[in-house]
C-alpha cells in the first residue's frame, strides 16, 4: 500500500510563480523516503500541500488511500509534520505543546498523557517537560517538534529539514531516533540539504527541480549510476609532481595530497598497485564529495529547466 500518492499535482501562486508543474509520486508504506531538491525547487510547496498548509491548484493527494480532498480528516489523521521552522507556542511548556497537539487529533486525555510521556522520553526531553519552550536550546526545540509530530502516533511522518542548524552530535542522535521510528513501522519522508543524511538514512529518493520530479528511484540504484568517484589521498612522502595513471585524473594539491577521479571499473586496488609501482605510498583516503551530492549536482546541472527525463 502507498503511504502517499501524488497525481499531477500543480501549484501556481497568486504572483504567477509555477511552483509545481504536475508531479506524480508514490511512497510505499514503511519506506524511509528522501525528497531532495535545491532551494526553490518546489519541495516545501509539495510538503505544504500534503500537510494542508497550502491549497493545491490542481491534482490529487492520497494518504494511505484517503483522498485529501474527499476524506480530509481521515487523510490528515495519518500525518505528523515536523516543519522547517519552530512553530509552536513559545510561551507554552513542552508538555502542554504535546498535550494540545494530541487533543487536536482527538486523543483522549489519559492516552494523551501516556503518549506525551513516551514521546518526550524518546526524544530525551522528559526532564524538560515543565520548561517554557522559549527557554530551550535550538536542538531541543527541534526535538520538541519531532516529539509533537509523533504524539498522535502518525503512520506518515514528514520531516522538512529537521536537522538544519543543529550540531553534529544532535544530528546523529536525531538520525538514530528517526531510524528507530521508521523501524517501528512509521513511513518517513525526509527533505534535507545534508545529502549524506539522505544517503545514510533513506531507501528511496525523489529529486525535484523547477517544480518537476527529475529523478525517482531507489537509493542503491541511483548511487550505482555514479561512474566516477573522487578521492583525496594523503601520502606518506612528499612528491614533486602528480603521477600519471591511465584512465584516472590525478591532481597534486600539496606535496603530500592528491585529488583522484577514478572510474568505478578501474578499482582502488589497481590504483594502489599503480601508485606503489611509482614509489608513492598512500597512508589514508577519503571521498572528496558525498556520492549522493555528486549525483545530485549532476542531475540538477543537467536539468537546468527541470524538464522530465
Amino acid at each position: 500500500m502507498n503511504a502517499l500518492s501524488l497525481r499531477n499535482l500543480k501549484k501556481t501562486y497568486n504572483n504567477g510563480l509555477e511552483a509545481l508543474k504536475g508531479i506524480d509520486l508514490d511512497v510505499e508504506a514503511g519506506d524511509f523516503f528522501a525528497l531532495l531538491g535545491p532551494n526553490g525547487a518546489g519541495k516545501s510547496t509539495a510538503i505544504g500541500i500534503i500537510s494542508s498548509l497550502i491549497n493545491e491548484t490542481s491534482g490529487s493527494v492520497s494518504i494511505f488511500g484517503h483522498d485529501l480532498r474527499r476524506e480530509r480528516e481521515k487523510a490528515k489523521s495519518c500525518i505528523g509534520l515536523v516543519p522547517q521552522e519552530v512553530n509552536f507556542n513559545q510561551f507554552d511548556t513542552v508538555k502542554n505543546i504535546l498535550l494540545n497537539q494530541a487533543g487536536y487529533y482527538g486523543t483522549p486525555r489519559k492516552l494523551a498523557l501516556q503518549r506525551t510521556e513516551y514521546c518526550l522520553k524518546q526524544m530525551d526531553l522528559w526532564d524538560k517537560r515543565d520548561t517554557v519552550s522559549r527557554r530551550l536550546s535550538g536542538g531541543m526545540k527541534r526535538r520538541v517538534m519531532i516529539a509533537r509530530a509523533l504524539v498522535h502516533a502518525p503512520k506518515l511522518l514528514i520531516l522538512d529539514e529537521p536537522t538544519a542548524g543543529v550540531d553534529i552530535e544532535i544530528r546523529r542522535s536525531m538520525w538514530k531516533m528517526m531510524q528507530e521510528v521508521n523501524q517501528q513501522g512509521t513511513t518517513i519522508i525526509l527533505t534535507t540539504h545534508y545529502l549524506e543524511e539522505a544517503e545514510s538514512l533513506c531507501r528511496n529518493i525523489a529529486i525535484i527541480n523547477h517544480g518537476r520530479i527529475v529523478e525517482n528511484s531507489d537509493m542503491a540504484g541511483l548511487l550505482a549510476r555514479l561512474h566516477v568517484e573522487h578521492f583525496v589521498l594523503d601520502l606518506a612522502h612528499p612528491i614533486a609532481a602528480a603521477p600519471v595513471i591511465e584512465g584516472c585524473q590525478i591532481e597534486r594539491i600539496t606535496d603530500r595530497t592528491l585529488n583522484v577521479a577514478i572510474p568505478k571499473e578501474h578499482g582502488l586496488n589497481k590504483l594502489f598497485s599503480q601508485l606503489t609501482a611509482q614509489n608513492i605510498e598512500v597512508i589514508s583516503l577519503k571521498n572528496k564529495t558525498n556520492r549522493l551530492e555528486q549525483l545530485f549536482m549532476d542531475l540538477i546541472d543537467s536539468n537546468p529547466t527541470g524538464d522530465k527525463r
Partner: protein, 254 residues
C-alpha cells in the same frame, strides 16, 4: 474522529491563556469601570438626575457592563488568533484533522467566556455603586451571550484578515470604541437631535445595549425583538463569513 476533544482542547487553551495573563485581561476592566462608575455615575450622575425613570448610575451600569463584554470578547479572539498566526502555530491546527467549524467554535467560545467573565467582574464592581435588581434574567443573559458571540466572531475575522499588529488595533480603537460610546451607554437615544437619532439607529451596538438595559433595569429606547433579530443576523452572517475565510485559507494559508 472525536471533535469534542479538539474543541475542548482549543477552549481550555484559550481560557488558560487569558487567566495566565490576568493583569492584562481581567484587572484593567475592573479598574477602568470602577472609575466610570465613580466619575460618571456617582460624581456627575448625581447632577444629571434620572433618565426614563432610572437614576443615572443605574442607567449607565448595563451599558458599561456590555461595553466591557464587547471589547473583551473581541480582544481575546483577535489577539489570540493573530498571535497564533504570527507565531505560526496556526499550522498545528491546519495540519490536524480539525474541521474549520471546530477551530472557529473553539476560538469564539474562548472569546465569549472571557467576555462573560469580564462582564461578571464589572457587574460585581457595579454593586458597590448601585443596587440593581435584575428585571428579566433570560433577556439579560441571552443578550450578553449573543453580544459576546457577535464580537468574538468579529475579532476572529479581524485576526484572519490582519497582516500586522497594527491591523488588530485599528478596529477596536477606531470602530468599536466609538460605536460603543455612541451606542447609548451614557445617554438615551431620545436625547439626541433628529438626524443623530436616525444615524444612531444604524449602530447595532445601540440595540444590544438597550436590550441588555431592558433585561437589567427594564428601560429601553428600542424594540427588544428587533435587538435579538439584529444580533442573531450578525451572528449568522459573521459565522458564514468566518467559515468562508477559513475554507479559502485567506490569511492563514499560502
Amino acid at each position: 474522529m472525536n471533535y469534542s476533544i479538539a474543541f475542548r482542547t482549543i477552549v481550555i487553551k484559550e481560557i488558560f491563556r487569558f487567566i495566565r495573563i490576568w493583569p492584562q485581561t481581567l484587572l484593567p476592566p475592573a479598574i477602568t469601570t470602577a472609575l466610570y462608575f465613580l466619575i460618571f455615575g456617582k460624581l456627575i450622575g448625581e447632577r444629571v438626575g434620572t433618565i426614563s425613570g432610572a437614576s443615572y448610575m443605574d442607567y449607565i451600569v448595563p451599558g458599561i457592563i456590555l461595553m466591557s463584554v464587547i471589547s473583551h470578547s473581541y480582544a481575546n479572539v483577535v489577539s489570540s488568533f493573530y498571535s497564533t498566526k504570527f507565531q505560526r502555530n496556526i499550522e498545528e491546527l491546519l495540519v490536524a484533522p480539525i474541521p474549520n467549524w471546530v477551530i472557529l467554535g473553539g476560538y469564539v467560545s474562548g472569546g465569549i467566556i472571557r467576555g462573560l467573565l469580564v462582564g461578571v467582574v464589572v457587574a460585581l464592581i457595579s454593586l458597590l455603586f448601585s443596587d440593581i435588581k435584575i428585571n428579566n434574567i433570560t433577556i439579560t443573559l441571552s443578550i450578553m451571550v449573543l453580544t459576546a458571540t457577535v464580537f468574538a466572531l468579529a475579532g476572529f475575522i479581524n485576526a484572519i484578515l490582519a497582516e500586522s499588529f497594527d491591523d488588530i488595533s485599528i478596529i477596536p480603537n477606531f470602530v468599536l470604541t466609538p460605536l460603543s460610546y455612541l451606542g447609548g451607554v451614557f445617554y438615551s437615544v431620545d436625547m439626541l437631535p433628529g438626524v443623530w437619532q436616525s444615524i444612531s439607529m444604524g449602530n447595532p451596538i445601540l440595540y444590544m445595549i438597550n436590550a441588555f438595559r431592558y433585561g437589567l433595569i427594564g428601560v429601553t429606547d428600542i424594540d427588544i425583538q428587533m435587538s435579538f433579530i439584529i444580533t442573531g443576523g450578525f451572528i449568522i452572517t459573521l459565522t458564514l463569513f468566518s467559515l468562508y475565510l477559513l475554507h479559502k485559507g485567506v490569511g492563514i494559508k499560502n
